[in-house]
């Protein structure tokens, strides 16, 4: 029986996560016994789980422990469909994850506990909403103690959200570089001077950054703060986070469907073909690449198929997420992924956070109105594109858009056409080396063709 300790699970001595025969288990160490028992006996666990704020778990026999000598319990949390990371989330996903963390901290304080960390990596999206996954993040609250995770919360949630809200939505991608959140001095320098007039941003970003640099390497006298003071800080963080906004309208891709090459009839027909392809494959998990606002992803997700709907445009992903939230959709997960540079494995030994491509295999990959971007904008030969699709999934729905299509012509307006091999015949020839073509359907009133293929 092979057990493998997860490479991201080493910081907290309270326990760790390991995999055993495809199951994800968590060992609770003896050293965390009191806090774990308090989490359960205080009623906090029940309140969090019944409100779908914390992932539920079942307790298993101790003989499953990874390291028996230090083990108190082994628990099995509900398994997630897909793991995503903060640098792949849009503004509202990160904001909802931050607000969830604060809501949990407030409930924890009510039950006499506190969060000992506030890492954005403690949150995952499950059934359309953020959920806290680190069951061992709670500890007994001792009157007088400040919030030990205050710095981490500001760096992981507030700082990137402030940068998006005041500067640019692409800043969330930078969380890939800053694995412990943005340094506050970095953010304080970048955001406009008028943010000094906002009480929340003045304290949690600007003064916080200055206090960090002033007290760096200085010995401090630890003083106590009242519980009301602590609740005041958490409450102020919450209202500061709530006040941050970003409007995703007006970017090129988020408005894409208003200027495509389709008339309505062709668009409906395309949806119908995609639907019939999905019916043929009957996938459990789908990856929609270049999904824009998720119109085609929803053909799968509306049939209760878990669908990871990725795009490189933060505005498109934001709109996709807001729609899924508004309609309480449980099977679609919009994420910001740049296919030309997808999330690599990062962290200690490059093993803490897995790469997007290797995170899990997909039953079906959808590449609609995407190939021309990869082949022409990024100069990728068909062979390289086929290699990528083969690596991430088993079945493939792919749309071929010929060179004379206005969308392709648009990509060629400012550059020399060096793409002699970009033809439907060559496309079929190259892809047939990697895939078996199962179906081929021409979209009426357009020159575009849809294929259903299976990996050879």
């Amino acid at each position: 029986m092979k057990k493998v300790k997860l490479r991201s699970s080493f910081r907290d001595l309270s326990g760790f996560v390991f995999e055993k025969e495809g199951r994800v288990l968590r060992q609770v160490n003896k050293v965390y016994k009191k806090d774990y028992d308090l989490l359960i006996s205080s009623g906090l666990y029940n309140e969090l789980v019944s409100n779908q704020l914390l992932i539920s778990h079942s307790e298993l026999g101790g003989n499953l422990a990874f390291e028996k000598s230090i083990s108190y319990k082994v628990i099995e949390p509900k398994k997630l469909d897909f793991i995503s990371y903060p640098y792949e989330w849009c503004f509202s996903q990160l904001k909802d994850a931050g607000l969830l963390t604060l809501r949990i901290q407030k409930l924890a304080l009510k039950h006499g506990l506190t969060l000992k960390d506030a890492s954005a990596y403690n949150i995952q999206f499950y059934k359309g909403r953020p959920v806290f996954i680190d069951t061992l993040s709670f500890e007994k609250y001792h009157e007088g103690e400040p919030w030990v995770a205050y710095r981490q919360f500001c760096q992981h949630f507030l700082a990137p959200l402030v940068l998006v809200s005041f500067k640019d939505p692409r800043f969330t991608k930078l969380l890939r570089v800053f694995i412990d959140g943005f340094p506050l001095s970095f953010v304080s320098k970048l955001i406009p001077k008028r943010t000094w007039l906002n009480l929340g941003l003045l304290t949690h970003i600007h003064l916080h950054a200055r206090s960090q640099s002033y007290y760096a390497n200085k010995k401090i006298v630890k003083k106590k703060i009242t519980k009301v003071g602590l609740r005041g800080i958490v409450d102020n963080l919450e209202s500061t986070l709530k006040s941050l906004s970003w409007n995703p309208e007006g970017t090129q891709w988020a408005e894409y469907y208003s200027f495509t090459n389709y008339n309505e009839e062709a668009f409906v027909y395309k949806k119908r073909i995609v639907n019939s392809f999905i019916d043929t494959v009957k996938p459990k998990i789908v990856l929609d690449l270049g999904a824009n606002t998720g119109v085609f992803s929803r053909i799968a997700s509306s049939q209760k198929i878990v669908t990871i709907s990725v795009d490189n445009d933060p505005a498109a992903v934001e709109r996709n997420y807001l729609e899924s939230k508004k309609n309480k959709e449980e099977y679609i997960l919009p994420l910001i992924i740049d296919l030309e540079n997808p999330s690599p494995a990062i962290g200690w030994m490059s093993e803490e956070r897995t790469s997007f491509i290797e995170r899990r295999p997909f039953d079906l990959v959808m590449s609609l109105a995407l190939l021309h971007h990869l082949s022409i904008s990024n100069n990728l030969p068909f062979d390289n594109v086929a290699d990528f699709f083969k690596k991430v999934g088993r079945f493939l729905i792919i749309e071929f858009i010929p060179k004379k299509d206005s969308q392709v012509q648009r990509l060629l307006t400012s550059r020399k056409d060096i793409f002699g091999s970009y033809s439907i015949d060559n496309f079929e020839y190259v892809f047939a080396k990697h895939f078996r073509i199962i179906r081929k359907e021409k979209i009426p009133a357009s020159e575009r063709v849809l294929y259903l293929m299976c990996k050879k």
């Binding site: 910081r11 500890e139 609740r231």
Partner: protein, 71 residues
């Protein structure tokens, strides 16, 4: 050899506070806790007062007949 064993026995490893709160972040919380705690208290009372009035209003709205009967 005995010293480290004794040390471990007297100070058992604790799982508490495994992340560094940061000196600057710690001090800042002490500084802002008074102000934010006070404004939080005011907010709570204000909410209570408002809900008291809105409840009364609601009750009146819910039972418009009651008002006419008593007046």
């Amino acid at each position: 050899m005995i010293v480290p064993i004794l040390f471990v026995a007297i100070f058992p490893e604790s799982a508490r506070a495994y992340i560094d709160p940061g000196s600057g972040s710690y001090i800042l919380q002490i500084v802002i806790a008074g102000l934010l705690g006070a404004s939080f208290t005011v907010k709570l009372y204000w909410k209570k007062i408002r809900s008291l009035f809105s409840n009364k209003k609601k009750k009146v709205n819910e039972n418009p007949n009651e008002k006419s009967e008593t007046s």
